[in-house]
Symmetry: C2
Subunit: 370 residues, 2 copies
């Protein structure tokens, strides 16, 4: 073990370089370099031998040298951006987690940085080029968070591999983007409830400041019209969940659902769609409190399909948000740009399918109990 340890640490104090391999293979270092860059499928016998030697000797390329020479790193940077918040919200952080995992699965390297311009930014001002880009620490970026159109243009002006991710509007044609089709998910949810026989469906979402909430509302209204369901303001419930410092989504879901359940029969919904799973869990607690059975007396649909949806009793039907797929796509788009490959499709939309579990059923016949 001592010997092995010595060997281990010598891997770091005296790492194998391209020159070492060249000497041993009796070729010029540049040949080794070319071999490493070539397609490993089609190698001449000589190159095959070089590659094998490199493996034997435990060669790992020094990425700093490569990045210095090339002028660009192969690490991808992720900018978590917020126009409104001084501190990143937990959803932004969880977005970052998904990106990290997607990166690891695809053998890509990812550095995250927060990019807060607070309230200082005006459309005239230039966005500063992010530090991690100027340092040449990263060769491309993924941008998540709240961006507006002039900012997209500025990202383009940096002329670096980039991809914006999330709820998007007016992305320039030449800037890569990966969005989430939350309208589709909402539509599917309403359609499902309508098909089960529900006519009185409530929607509980956050304020209209966030594009996501606006899109949810629009899709909801479009679907209720299309399926000829009860409409109007009384079915739209605004929950105060947008301020990360003070928001209490569980309590909001609980209290607002209690209010809905306590309405008179006519205006009492038989199904509720929640803008996130946490609100829905609060709703579940309210149903338990009023002894209303889910799903036989009340159908519930969550949004995001988090561990809460799978873990609850009953398990929640929820609109799935596939952050993993979104991030994987975004990372690939940036990687292709870094490698100068051509991109078949610059803009992608990740589907949000409705995951059907146990929290929905046809409405109770006759007057629902109260």
């Amino acid at each position: 073990m001592n010997e092995m340890n010595a060997d281990m640490s010598s891997q770091l104090s005296n790492p194998v370089t391209i020159d070492d391999i060249a000497k041993r293979a009796k070729v010029h270092p540049s040949t080794v370099s070319r071999t490493m860059a070539a397609d490993p499928e089609k190698l001449t016998p000589r190159r095959r031998k070089i590659l094998e030697m490199a493996r034997e000797m435990g060669y790992t390329p020094n990425v700093n040298a490569a990045a210095l020479r090339r002028g660009a790193s192969d690490t991808i940077g992720m900018l978590v951006v917020s126009t409104f918040l001084q501190y990143p919200t937990s959803s932004q952080l969880s977005t970052a987690s998904f990106a990290m995992r997607a990166a690891a699965e695809n053998a890509l390297r990812l550095i995250t940085d927060f990019y807060n311009w607070g309230t200082q930014w005006t459309p005239d001002a230039d966005l500063p080029i992010p530090q991690i880009v100027r340092e040449r620490r990263v060769g491309g970026i993924i941008a998540t968070g709240t961006w507006a159109q002039p900012q997209f243009d500025q990202i383009l002006s940096w002329k670096i591999p980039a991809c914006v991710v999330g709820q998007l509007k007016n992305v320039p044609e030449s800037l890569c983007s990966v969005g989430m089709n939350i309208r589709g998910g909402m539509y599917e949810a309403v359609q499902y409830l309508a098909a089960l026989g529900h006519r009185k469906i409530a929607l509980m979402i956050g304020g209209p400041k966030h594009i996501a909430h606006v899109q949810q509302q629009q899709a909801f209204e479009q679907a209720t019209r299309e399926f000829n369901l009860a409409g109007g303001e009384q079915w739209l419930i605004r929950a105060d969940i947008d301020s990360p410092k003070t928001a209490r989504p569980l309590a909001e879901g609980y209290h607002l659902t209690l209010q809905l359940l306590d309405r008179s029969t006519d205006s009492r919904p038989t199904a509720i769609i929640y803008g996130n799973d946490t609100l829905a869990i609060g709703g579940l607690q309210a149903a338990a409190k009023r002894d209303v059975d889910v799903p036989s007396e009340l159908s519930i649909i969550g949004t995001s399909d988090t561990f809460l949806a799978v873990g609850s009793e009953p398990q929640l039907t929820s609109i799935h948000e596939d952050h993993h797929q979104m991030m994987t796509a975004a990372l690939r788009l940036v990687e292709m740009q870094i490698r100068n490959q051509n991109i078949p499709q610059r803009h992608m939309l990740v589907d949000c399918p409705l995951i059907k579990r146990q929290s929905c059923a046809p409405p109770a016949p006759g007057t629902p109990g109260s």
Copy 2:
């Protein structure tokens, strides 16, 4: 704006180097380099001028060149490790999020990588040096997850700046570590309930495979003995929450709490401590179902103090786990090693104070309702 854009992208295509500054300041490049490395507080007038010029010209050091020359990057790597799981759990990912945020706040760069040896690792086998280290992409590492003692020794043998983080046992003296004092938090929770007058306190935690759960149980048992409370196996409830694929913590909390509430008076707890907040939320739902008021008829304490604890109704008293502080400390320890500063304290323990909110009260007088 066109002009500015040109300026922006030229920042990247023709970045200012140390040589440019040297030429303009009519000094040797090495003088500029030394100036950048010096303490900005105490500079000679000449150096002060150099620094100002650098700022004017928009100089950003090329980290690749610096890392190549120095032989080590200033980026910190984070290894998310798991002995048991093929895929990182959400708690591991959230750990990673906290680390990213702590890094951003301290102007440190962090790359995350997952390090899975699955079930293959044996004490005899050498751990491979992580890829991000061998590539020289990072100059030091933070290791989180489940580690055993022989693995600590191997990390030491890599002879790189390192710090292990999390629930720890038998860390070698010379390896930096930051732990979480979950025993202390559990002790405090029991003490608080005992002081309120509770004698029948149940603990609902995961299986004994995880060090954290073992420590929670030990601290619980020690405290119940010390405060002379009802003891024995009937107060320890095992929840199945350890398998990330199948775990349904909310449902577990719900069903197991129902069982507790349905016990006969003697063996029915007046307070329940949960191993995590999600279980506790399930408990809250069970209480609502049985129309048991929290806190007047049942006191509840969660663990981790997540957004669920703050957001629920009533708000949960919870044992706080300060991942942010833990990660900040760990990052600092690695940074100090990278910078060759001497470290006052190699081992730290982050406190887990009990955050008192609304879910605890003295037990109901007489027989609790059922």
